[in-house]
């Protein structure tokens, strides 16, 4: 179901060594929310800048040299290649270090790893994107990818929410998608504030209200685990089969290439066989851990 395009995997090795990062330079920093920032970067090596490709849904391992390495999805679209982007939330040692970097700083990049959203499966279908908080990051790569090939896809619904108005990420995207007449953009927050005039309600609830049709449709869900847990039952109620629901899983990762053992769920590795999975695949996981 999900594409496991292996041809990408060994193409961009630094010095032939799969653990060696490439040097990338930070070109722009956007403070999305008090705890989340997006970093725009590019390879220091000009040849790599031209040649590097990836697919929506894939992730990479980013290093702050001397502090450590952490995995984040590539949040920019492969159709817009003048630079690359990733979004990082401040939660620990490496991410705190990332939030202290300035424009011009050099970090390491290893990737792209993992599988990607199955574009051939999505083509010709209605797409319902359901996102929460920073979970919009992998989705936005796919959304811009779809918009840049708009005629290959049918209707687009985007339902996105965050805890509060200040926690909404990628506000510039939300605005652009809202202005796009071929997209139905629904934004909600769990709790409003004095300035908020829009919808208030949890994402799964709003999804139930919007009630998109399951016919010829695929839902792509990304957000905090608790949001996903409550979204799947709503989609089921709306008639979506488990094969019609996609999501990306998050696990603690180190090597990103299926060797260090950390991200395994039963006999699969999230870094090697994911992070994109259908709900059907998740239900069949040997381990009921997730």
């Amino acid at each position: 179901m999900t594409t496991t395009d292996i041809s990408h995997r060994s193409k961009f090795l630094a010095q032939g060594n799969v653990y060696l990062p490439h040097i990338v330079v930070i070109e722009r920093i956007i403070e999305e929310t008090p705890g989340v920032r997006t970093l725009h970067f590019n390879f220091k090596d000009k040849k790599l800048r031209e040649e590097f490709t990836f697919q929506s849904g894939q992730f990479a391992e980013y290093s702050v040299f001397g502090i450590g390495e952490a995995p984040f999805c590539i949040s920019s679209s492969p159709t817009r290649r003048d630079h690359l982007e990733f979004a990082v939330q401040r939660v620990g040692r490496v991410t705190n270090a990332m939030h202290r970097l300035g424009v011009g700083a050099e970090i390491g990049f290893r990737g792209p790893y993992g599988n990607s959203f199955p574009l051939d499966f999505l083509q010709g279908k209605n797409l319902i994107f359901v996102g929460g908080g920073i979970g919009l990051a992998p989705l936005r790569s796919l959304i811009w990818n779809v918009i840049d090939n708009r005629d290959k896809y049918k209707n687009i619904d985007i339902i996105y929410g965050a805890r509060s108005p200040t926690d909404l990420c990628f506000k510039y995207d939300l605005e652009a998608w809202g202005k796009n007449k071929t997209i139905n953009m629904v934004i909600t927050v769990d709790r409003g504030d004095e300035t908020w005039a829009g919808k208030v309600g949890l994402v799964p609830k709003v999804l139930e209200e919007v009630a998109p049709s399951a016919r010829n449709a695929v839902a792509i869900v990304c957000g905090p685990p608790i949001m996903i847990r409550f979204t799947f039952p709503v989609l089921t109620k709306l008639g979506f089969t488990p094969e019609q629901m996609l999501t990306t899983l998050e696990k603690r990762m180190k090597c990103g290439i299926g060797k260090c053992g950390r991200c395994n769920i039963g006999n699969i590795f999230v870094c090697r066989d994911g992070p994109v999975f259908t709900h059907a695949q998740i239900k069949s996981f040997v381990s009921s851990e997730y």
């Binding site: 060594n17 603690r252 060797k259 053992g261 039963g266």
Partner: protein, 343 residues
């Protein structure tokens, strides 16, 4: 190719000869702990006491700590340099069949999808000289996993103790090559080979601990959600790393950076799924409870690994049983699985 033999008292000369081409590792004991250490050039007293090492030979290929690359920063930015590997060929003398098989099992992970650039070169530049077990431990259970304590297809040469001498059988092409360049070996007679066959059978029968590995994957999957069983099994576990670190087929590792002023390195070191923080994420930890981690360890070795690679990630060396501070015993866990497999 026929077998050769060598007198036990000529082993020192043999190892010296091999030291010309290889860095020779042999069993050595320090502070009561047996490891495969660099041979000091003359001591072969290990032939008297050696049964098996505490630290498994995986440490020669996936060391407890390894530098992956170093980096430094100057005004032009960061420069990454691969850490120099010593490149010298290794020869491990006296590896047991269980440990040799374990290396073959580890190979599958390090070759899968991406070639591991640290483990694999060491493997291909190492010659393994296997030695059959004359005295298996009471904690050994290799025979239940299709492994003989006396024979191995995962070594280059296989030695069998036939009294004052060792029978030397070539197993791999590299082993045959090595024999061709080694002097001082005599040709084995039919009697020697017959004697060796007897010795091997005796060794095999000395392994008394058994597990039932048949259908183990299904049994584990069927018991997977039985929380009561796993809580009972996990109750006395201390969540330390002894079983996983000393296991010849365990390979989980951690990656850490260090930085001093503008220079640093990225290091890889042993890690264990038994540690509580192994799977911790900022918002949740899917294996916070001890019983989940113990279940993971057993199911990974006897369930998930064979599901992917068709081989059980255990060679019955018994180190986990011998060295666990609370005598947690995996053979008891496997024997006690509540079986509810649907027909």
């Amino acid at each position: 190719m026929t077998s050769n033999k060598i007198n036990k008292k000529d082993i020192e000369k043999l190892l010296s000869q091999w030291s010309q081409e290889f860095t020779v590792f042999a069993p050595s004991i320090e502070s009561g702990i047996a490891t495969m250490a660099k041979w000091d050039g003359k001591d072969t007293s290990f032939l008297d006491w050696y049964r098996n090492t505490v630290i498994p030979p995986k440490a020669n290929f996936l060391p407890p700590m390894e530098e992956m690359f170093s980096f430094q920063k100057d005004k032009e930015g960061y420069h990454i340099e691969l850490s120099p590997s010593n490149g010298h060929k290794q020869l491990i003398f006296g590896i047991r069949p269980c440990d040799a098989k374990a290396l073959a099992i580890l190979d599958m992970t390090f070759k899968d999808l991406y070639q591991d650039p640290y483990y694999l070169p060491k493997r291909s530049s190492t010659v393994l000289i296997g030695l059959g077990c004359a005295k298996p431990y009471d904690s050994c259970f290799c025979t239940s996993l299709g492994i003989s304590p006396a024979e191995s297809t995962d070594v280059d040469l296989m030695l069998t103790d036939i009294g004052d001498q060792f029978l030397i059988e070539p197993i791999s092409a590299a082993g045959k090559e090595l024999i061709a360049k080694t002097s001082g070996l005599k040709e084995a007679t039919k009697d020697d080979e017959a004697r060796a066959k007897e010795v091997k059978e005796t060794s095999y029968n000395k392994v008394t601990r058994k597990i039932n590995a048949e259908g183990i994957i299904d049994k584990l999957l069927a018991s997977f959600d039985d929380q009561d069983y796993w809580e009972k099994i996990a109750a006395k576990c201390m969540s330390c790393g002894i079983c996983t670190f000393l296991c010849p087929t365990c390979y989980c590792f951690d990656i850490n950076d260090e930085l001093v002023k503008q220079q640093g390195a990225r290091l890889r070191n042993w890690d264990s799924c038994a540690f509580p923080l192994y799977t911790k994420m900022p918002m949740e930890n899917p294996r916070q409870e001890k019983w989940r981690r113990v279940r993971q360890k057993v199911c990974h070795k006897f369930g998930f690994y064979p599901m992917t690679f068709n081989v059980i990630a255990c060679t019955g060396c018994g180190r986990c049983i011998r060295l666990c501070p609370v005598n947690w015993d995996i053979t008891q866990t496997l024997a006690g699985l509540p079986i509810k497999v649907q027909e």
